[in-house]
Amino acid sequence: MAKYLLLLAALMCAGVANADNSKAHEPTLLGDDGFKQPLTKLKFNPGLDQREFERSSLTALNVYDPLESWNRRVYHFNYRFDQWVFLPVVNGYTYVTPSFLRTGVSNFFNNLGDVPNLLNSLLQLKGHRSLETTGRLLLNTTVGIAGLWDPATAMGLPRQSEDFGQTLGFYGVPGGAYVVLPIFGPSNLRDTAGLLVDYTAESQINFLNVSEVSSNHPEIWALRAVDKRYQTSFRYGQMNSPFEYEKVRYIYTESRKLQIAE
């Protein structure tokens, strides 16, 4: 018995990295007043002088942003445009349309968006995802009546967005300089190029004849823009910080990395 214990102890010492050195499993110390003292469950660094928060945050602030001054102005322009034009229009839109109609509109445009999703999945040689997106397109365009309904999601084929920026990133193209696009918001050089490619591809494919029709009917573009804003939950000022620009920049950069890696 003792031998085994010794062996176990030796093993645990050897694998410091694997050993559970946290205090998570220590018994809860109940105070006289019933207080559970959650901080006693944590292992603190002995001197309480670690600068990891500062190190992480300062490193995170290193985003390549040579156009910062310009970008900030565009950011403020977007903020104002959003508050004074975009959101009031979206609010009007939600006011005059019933909920099922808005969902239908969103589904319709999302179905159109599945075409570039499919193309980019194919370009990234993601077989499984391409099949799923093809399934979505077939199902939603037929059973879902030109995409107004989204039976595919209900059947376990969730929407998986892929754009050309992600495809470029997949093949190792770096993001390049951070750019804030007017109206569109945060982007970078690579993703801006991707946006153009996706747009061109979409108008060339002319799926469901929408691109052709909307060249004569700009109101379709307007509806698409309003729907896009309606579907985007981000609100300026939401981060409630004088440093919102920096935070958005970091989150955009990291979330793009995450989308590319995934």
Partner: protein, 432 residues
């Protein structure tokens, strides 16, 4: 079993002297699934255990602005144009109804997720709901705070009271039967001070006031929060910072899942997965979020008061000016630094000196002990494993509030507010 008996006996003997005992919810019958306080704080309640709430579409609500400090129009730099006026949100019933004010927690705006949740809960129960930013929130400091140095609870409450009066004036035609008040976290402390102020000013005559997870000793709370970024986190090394560590875990989680799906259950699912965070990592994450709040407060307060600690007083700022160097400086300042560098000097200058202990006494719940003890309209809900409390704080609440205190065994900091059982209790308190 023996252990709990012993505890019960101990508790019983301890508080027999008090007139009434606090309501202690038994862990077994409570049914809250998250036993880890840090997990509860971050992930909150799993979606199927939350109450059924109306969607935003079903609520008649809009945002209004108040011009509380007109001089800030000129004293604040241009790129703060969005916070020169204070925004709040009001949800109106279509008939005469009681009105409830919600005060957000540390650094949080009127539309913080907890405030939105509380709005839906109370709106559904038939209240008009007014959502207010915390006095420590960036927009509130910039647009409604007289001294722009939040932390002195009494002064914060005065600022808040003016805002509430302005809200009432702006919606004068709204038929209101009674006024109620609630707040969570630091907002609960503010609510207590606002309620005290209302006893003399009498604008609202609050019928009932509910404090959700308030700090008891403000200094203990900020010390605890500052300390959270000092945990020893495994996996951090010269090439991997803490954020990268968390993001890598998140990436692997999504890769295993097969697609990105951002929803209410994300954090809960994530913690159930192989990539889950350890206690230390979660503590670091909570601490990080509070450090960013501290940085925002320290910067905004310094900027408005032109103290020159973070940003030079006459530094020209336009919409194109990079604030990153100042963020870098502000990030070095935690709550303790903000307190010693900005709050205490201002407080000393305004109150003929005084020690840190006196300040702590003045800004914590201690200052209101007699009032809280004698006011049957005020109640508290707290958790036994809340990270913002220190030893003895629950004892203070037990003594002060008696049976108006409810102690939940689990939930961390505000993690169980959106649990069905808590939601029912929160509605029941105002109903009764």
């Amino acid at each position: 079993m023996l252990r709990s008996l012993r505890c019960a006996a101990l508790l019983g003997s301890l508080f027999l002297s008090a007139s009434a005992l606090a309501v202690d919810i038994d862990q077994a019958s409570y049914g809250y699934p998250l036993t880890n306080p840090f997990e509860a704080t971050i992930a909150t309640t799993p979606p199927d255990l939350r109450p059924k709430l109306p969607t935003d579409d079903e609520i008649n609500q809009s945002d209004y602005t108040l011009n509380m400090r007109p001089e800030r129009e000129f004293s604040l730099p241009d790129n703060f144009w969005a916070v020169k006026k204070l925004t709040y949100r009001i949800a109106k019933q279509d008939r005469a109804a009681p009105l409830i004010f919600l005060i957000a927690g540390t650094g949080a705006r009127y539309d913080s997720s907890l405030n939105e949740y509380l709005k839906k809960l109370y709106y559904q129960a038939g209240y008009h709901v007014v959502q207010l930013s915390s006095p420590t929130s960036f927009d509130f400091i910039a647009s409604a705070s007289r001294f722009a140095t939040p932390g002195i609870s009494q002064e914060d409450a005065e600022d808040m009271y003016r805002v509430m009066q302005a809200v009432r004036a702006q919606n004068a035609s709204l038929p209101v039967t009674d006024f109620y008040l609630t707040g969570y976290s630091l907002g609960a402390l503010d609510a207590a001070f606002v309620s005290k102020l209302d006893e003399t000013r009498r604008s609202f005559n609050f019928k009932k006031v509910l404090l959700l997870n308030p700090p008891v000793n403000l200094y203990t709370s900020i010390t605890n929060l500052d300390k959270l970024v000092q945990t020893e986190v495994k996996g951090i090394n010269n090439t991997t910072t803490f954020y990268e560590l968390v993001l890598n875990k998140l990436t692997r989680y999504f890769q295993q899942k097969g697609y990105i799906d951002l929803n209410d259950a994300l954090l809960y699912d994530f913690q159930q997965s192989k990539q889950h965070l350890t206690n230390e990592q979660m503590a670091m994450l909570i601490g990080t979020s509070f450090r960013f709040s501290a940085a925002d407060i320290a910067f905004t307060s310094d900027l408005i008061n032109r103290r020159g600690l973070i940003i030079p007083p006459k530094y020209p700022i336009t919409e194109g000016t990079s604030l990153t160097p100042f963020l870098k400086r502000a990030l070095q300042c935690d709550f303790d630094c903000y307190l010693t560098e900005q709050v205490i000097p201002m407080w000393r200058a305004r109150s003929d000196g005084g020690s840190l202990l006196q300040l702590v006494d003045q800004v914590s719940l201690y200052a209101l002990k007699d009032y809280l003890h004698a006011s049957p309209k005020i109640a508290v809900m707290h958790n036994a494993d809340d990270v913002i409390l220190g030893p003895g704080d629950l004892g203070f609440l037990r003594k002060t509030f008696g049976d108006r205190l409810t102690v939940y065994p689990l939930g961390g900091h505000c993690g169980n507010l959106n649990y069905r059982v808590n939601a029912d209790a929160m509605l029941e308190f105002f109903r009764g």
